[in-house]
Symmetry: C2
Subunit: 454 residues, 2 copies
Amino acid sequence: MANSSEIRPRVLIVGGGFAGIQAAMHLAGEPVEVTLVDRRNHHTFQPLLYQVALAALSPGDIAQPIRALFRKEPNIDVLMDEVVAIDTAAKSVGLKSSAHLSYDYLILATGATHSYFGHDEWAASAPGLKTIEDAIEIRRRVLLAFELAERQKLETGSHPALNFVVVGGGPTGVELAGAISDISRLYMQRDFRHIDPSKAHVIVVEGSPRLLAAYPEDLSRKAAEELARIGVEVRNNAHVTDIQPGFVVANGERIESVVTLWAAGVQASPLGKMLGAEMDKRGSIFVDEHLNPQGHPEIFVCGDLAHAVENGKQIPGVAQPAMQMGTHAAKEILADLAKKPRTKFHYFDKGDMATIGRHSAVANVVWPFHAHLSGFPAWMAWLLVHIYFLIGFRNRALVLLQWTWMYFGLSGGPRLITGSQKLPGWPELTGSGRAANGAPLDVNSPGAVEGPLD
Amino acid sequence: MANSSEIRPRVLIVGGGFAGIQAAMHLAGEPVEVTLVDRRNHHTFQPLLYQVALAALSPGDIAQPIRALFRKEPNIDVLMDEVVAIDTAAKSVGLKSSAHLSYDYLILATGATHSYFGHDEWAASAPGLKTIEDAIEIRRRVLLAFELAERQKLETGSHPALNFVVVGGGPTGVELAGAISDISRLYMQRDFRHIDPSKAHVIVVEGSPRLLAAYPEDLSRKAAEELARIGVEVRNNAHVTDIQPGFVVANGERIESVVTLWAAGVQASPLGKMLGAEMDKRGSIFVDEHLNPQGHPEIFVCGDLAHAVENGKQIPGVAQPAMQMGTHAAKEILADLAKKPRTKFHYFDKGDMATIGRHSAVANVVWPFHAHLSGFPAWMAWLLVHIYFLIGFRNRALVLLQWTWMYFGLSGGPRLITGSQKLPGWPELTGSGRAANGAPLDVNSPGAVEGPLD
């Protein structure tokens, strides 16, 4: 930022996810002036969001202020704002605050959000999991369902079946389903007296013929077996046609649901439209082997926002390629400055993994050797990889400490219900405050307290 | 809960704060059937709420699910619900869910909330600090003020003065003010490039002639000195007559304010009205030396909800007496069962303490010896006492670990902005997106980036 800054190329990075953070890290200390714009003040470690949603970790354990990450990097400037327009001719970006930023290089990495396949009205009944706010909302709903069931059991002697429906059987759906089953059987079971949380029933509704469609078939089978072991029901080839408060309709059948979660579809952020670039049907921008959209060697598109193809196969929208794309974009820019030729992006696939509850996982290991792992060994591998990639010493130590406690049953995690105490679709109570025999209902009476659990 | 339960007295505890939790803990394992009702699922360690509000701790660090606290106590039942009616003749309580609970003994300990002295319209502009949600809202506003200032500085070249006004100079006001000053000078200062967070100005507006009016005068003076040392301005004898988005009016003078916090008045929860008991002007219920409201030896009122007098002095509404009252109520009930005489409540005052930033505090020590401490020794005493009383091994370890990191500058805490990105009263930008000379404003131009900090 010293006197030479006027001649330094300006790199504008939009998005502080895995791709944007990696790009900025690889440009730190280099002869460029970088501005990283994100509409949030924090980077979220999305692979562990489901653990915040199911109260194993606190939001602060998996999120870091973006400013704090680049505090010691004088050439990386961070701005909390939102891009609302891109003028590729003027090489300028318009922000929501109405300022403009000009650039020599532009790295677009704003990721994806949920897609309800044209049924946005489902969103209120079936939240997805992309942000810290989403995770807190899911935590609220799941924990509240047990509290409302307990309350209603005391008042009326029964309660709606504790069905939790997860729409989508990809990694997020599988991890959410496993974690709900875990929390029900392990923690809720210890805490509630009048209902039986172990009878909570988790149902995964998947449209394709198998779970984890991107994984090898044997691992899909393993995942289904492991889910069955912890009581999760999986319905494959099940097409959801309606979601309302309190139920889901799949293949024409109504499935009662106290909490429905959406883990089915994603759509890219709307930056593709602003760019005027060619996009695929979910809004991701087609890029060439250098990650440039057509005709714009000064623009790089990374992560979930990019539709990149290698050897005829689309590169998946997960954390690993996003990080590699961010790194690649930074290296291409530095190659330009060094007057070296650009290189093609190559996705170095180390494999994929997904947990299934707290002792088990499936892992399709590609590097450093090929292996299909499942059960406890896969879970150990998952643990090491996720601790390693979690950003920040503080977060790693806090997460390890809390996982250790939970593993040995010493802690049930931060199980707080905050915000509204209403659950969409929860049946209204009669308001009579009377038991069936007309007498005031009394929690302390033997009938209410010691009656059979439903 | 075995066969003998029909003849066991039923104790209903309303409120899971310090008083309610202590009462339940002292009734655990005794020959009574206890139900603890709280409208939240968690107990909050209120003395550390300000640290959640200023992003030093995560909500889960200072809150515990009430169920988890009594998991191993078969005679303590927990219900998340809200009391909406009390029928003292029928010895029955009506719940929001419309169930009824009957009791032999009733312990009311629902605490207090903010009071805006008849100006409820101030609440939106000046949130108070009683719940986890309040703390997250304050965190959002304070952190967002810096982000919006940075954004506006880039767009227009200036920003509103970063004035933070705390209304009320009691312990909460002093602790909030010190913590805002700390976070500005220590963490924000390192993270922002274009504004100068160390110029954030914290103003405490206190109606009485001195801070910490309940403390000895020398400690009030010390607190004022310590606050001055870290740049906090204190205005005593200052009467607030208006609070609007963006400013506060005190003694006829308008004080600009980007974030206003309310730490001035409290009012008791509305249970006094339901009880039909005599109340003081803030709604606390007058109780005798046994903590019973007149004519109801089977009802105990504890904590902030109680107006108890000993030696002509009202017992203060803080954590210590609340805990002791809860314990006393439990012991009175057990004395009844043992056919022993009741004893008078005696407040065993060990003293009071309040932090002023992260190295300093004032402490009025009454037990085990009389002393007025200030500065670092008082802060060490504060730290030990608060760690000791924090409920749950997990929470103690997590809090200690995070305080240690922060103390050595290794972590700035969970500084997440969640929820809305709007701040009441923040001036609207022009929307022109143009600098004064009409040219598109450019964050990367030397003028914008390297201009003088304001």
